[in-house]
């Protein structure tokens, strides 16, 4: 028997005691191709059939730009709100023992399970000018339903579990001793949170933000009920895609979708780079 010469640099197959590398990798690739790659490349292919000038015309159409701005803007705001309050919810669930804690914990997952249209209708009923909460906000001059603010509220609802569920496990792993160490060194509560706890949680919070944001950009069901869907004002990009489809204007629909795809991909890529960078430093 001859021994293979030692290879330098990157090797395709890592020697391992666990068998099945070829099989599992092959399956994973085939699976991802079928489920994700083929539909997405179909999308790109269809929009490519459009030709550059037409594509550019659709992309720079004011209605498209406004819809994209509303989609990404509201998703960003909602994710930002969720980062603050989702982290707070996670903190309460991890740090305190109170009656009903498990119920609250289970409630966090409800937005995952609830049909989003149901959530949209419920939120619209509450925030409409004659709804329970809308009635209270009306005299203050705040209009929620049928405005971008309503979209943000719907997306906050949809995105909450993403932040809570990514931050919670990391928070549970925080060593009490690290806080105690900071306290013996003279740090007060606020300093412990801002200088010791928060930096440790930041990567998880960024992940939670990315997930909530991505979910918010793609959300359709709950938003169309509360948004009012006024073109240029409260029309989201996914809805515009559906409208174009209903007009049998497939190239326009795929063009908007392709733009959304590209923007989302860039955002998630940036988030991932941030993650990799921080992991290299602290892990």
């Amino acid at each position: 028997m001859t021994t293979a010469p030692a290879q330098a640099g990157w090797r395709f197959k890592q020697p391992s005691v666990i068998p099945g590398f070829g099989l599992t990798l092959g399956f994973s690739l085939a699976y991802l191709t079928l489920i994700i790659l083929i539909p997405l490349s179909g999308l790109l292919w269809r929009s490519a059939a459009l030709g550059w000038p037409e594509f550019w015309a659709i992309a720079t159409d004011r209605r498209t730009i406004n819809a994209l701005r509303i989609s990404f803007g509201t998703a960003f705001l909602a994710a930002a709100v969720n980062v603050v309050f989702g982290t707070l919810v996670a903190w309460v669930l991890v740090r305190y023992r109170f009656p009903g804690r498990r119920i609250v914990d289970a409630m966090v997952d409800l937005p995952f399970a609830l049909p989003t249209a149901v959530a949209g209708i419920a939120l619209t009923t509450l925030y409409a000018p004659n709804g329970w909460i809308g009635k209270l906000l009306m005299p203050l001059g705040i209009k929620v339903a049928y405005t971008p603010l309503g979209i943000v509220i719907a997306l906050v609802f949809i995105g909450l579990p993403f932040v809570v569920r990514t931050v919670q496990p990391i928070m549970e792993e925080i060593d009490r001793e690290v806080e105690e160490a900071a306290a013996t060194l003279g740090a007060n509560r606020l300093q412990i949170i801002t200088r010791v706890l928060f930096p440790g949680l930041a990567p998880a919070i960024v992940t939670g933000f990315a997930l909530a944001f991505a979910r918010g950009v793609g959300e359709y069901g709950s938003v169309i009920f509360i948004a009012g869907n006024l073109p240029y004002k409260s029309e989201i990009a996914p809805l515009l895609i559906v409208i174009r489809l209903e007009e049998y204007n497939y190239p326009a629909a795929t063009a908007i979708a392709a733009i959304m795809l590209a923007l989302s991909f860039i955002m998630l890529l940036v988030v991932n780079l941030v993650q990799t960078w921080s992991r290299k430093r602290y892990a």
Partner: protein, 347 residues
């Protein structure tokens, strides 16, 4: 800084972890809290640090009652068993943390903090590692950083909770010697918790032996080893053998024979337990006034031979240690008399 623990009791949800503990620690002393797990040694350390509040009693730093001061105000350096370093900070930032979180005029300028951090790194022999992150250090190095971090705030006392517990034997021994050197150089009043008696006896000026929430004995390594004041200390520190005996007419009797030892003058007559160290024995040829037994087992342990003897009709087992080449080890019957011993009430 002197530390005085006065009649401290600590309960966790009605379960007492410390009963009425008092302890005086002199300024500049290196003290070990030694005991099995659950003896309350860590609780005592955390009480001194302010990480726990006493249920009753007081803790004084010098003449000042510190019992109701917050952790932050106490200005203690605490080193944890698992280092508890801040993972997202460099070594230098970890060490400087205690100075950076100070307010107003008590906070040194950034340059001064950096200078102090590298000074401390020199002291703990990690010069040049300022820019590393804790994840890039070995266990022993991390614990050195943790100690430097604790010393950066110029603490009144340095408290170490099983500082070498998570390290392997080789590194442990090295760090032990090194900690002693650091202590002698800086003169901090230092209290450390350990369950390793070798560590405690070798390192500390005085050892506090604890068991079941009480202090059993406080003393130098010599006091603790040579004059244990309770059966627990006899059993916990070093090797010991015990035999049930009787005291009569100022003599000690095993079953119906005197063993040639005179009881201490005010020892009451009656049942008692005789404790002695296996290596503090005098071997005898004949047996008038001695303890004799048949050899049940004989094991070579490092530089000595440990012989297990069955004594008398009740076949009580005791261990004695013999030199490796001693002829008595070949015999089936061995007679001896303890050289140094102590009587305690019957178990």
């Amino acid at each position: 800084m002197e530390v005085r623990v006065a009649n401290v009791r600590k309960e966790f949800e009605r379960f007492p972890a410390l009963h009425d503990v008092s302890l005086d620690i002199k300024s500049g002393e290196l003290i070990a809290l030694l005991g099995p797990s659950g003896s309350g040694k860590t609780t005592l350390l955390r009480l001194i640090a302010g990480l726990e509040r006493p249920t009753r009693g007081n803790i004084f730093f010098g003449d000042e009652d510190a019992s109701h001061k917050s952790i932050q105000e106490r200005n203690v350096g605490f080193v944890f068993q698992h280092y508890a370093l801040f993972r997202h900070m460099t070594v230098a930032d970890n060490i400087g943390f205690g100075l950076k979180v100070r307010h107003g005029s008590s906070r040194p300028p950034a340059q001064e903090i950096r200078r102090r951090a590298s000074e401390l790194l020199d002291l703990v022999q990690l010069s040049g590692l300022e820019k590393r992150y804790p994840a890039q250090l070995s266990g022993g190095q991390r614990q050195r950083v943790a100690l430097a971090r604790a010393m950066a705030i110029e603490p009144k006392v340095l408290l170490l909770d099983e500082p070498f517990g998570a390290l392997d034997a080789q590194v442990r021994r090295e760090l032990r010697r090194w900690l002693r050197e650091i202590h002698d150089a800086t003169g901090h009043t230092t209290v450390f918790v350990t369950h390793d008696q070798e560590e405690a006896l070798e390192l500390a000026d005085r050892v506090v032996v604890m068991s079941q929430g009480r202090i059993e004995q406080v003393g130098t390594a010599d006091d603790i080893y040579d004059a244990p004041n309770s059966p627990f200390v006899y059993g916990f520190i070093g090797e010991s053998s015990s035999l049930p005996v009787k005291v009569e007419n100022g003599e000690i009797w095993l079953a119906d024979r005197p063993i040639g030892l005179a009881a201490p003058p005010n020892e009451p007559s009656g049942e008692a337990t005789l404790y002695f160290r296996p290596h503090h024995v005098e071997l005898l040829d004949g047996c008038s006034g001695c303890i004799a037994g048949t050899v049940a087992a004989s094991r070579r342990v490092a530089g000595t031979r440990r012989v297990e003897l069955e004594i008398g009709g009740e076949r009580q087992r005791v261990e004695i240690e013999l030199p490796v080449d001693h002829p008595a080890a070949q015999k089936s019957r061995v007679a001896f008399r303890p050289g140094r011993w102590k009587l305690f009430p019957p178990a």
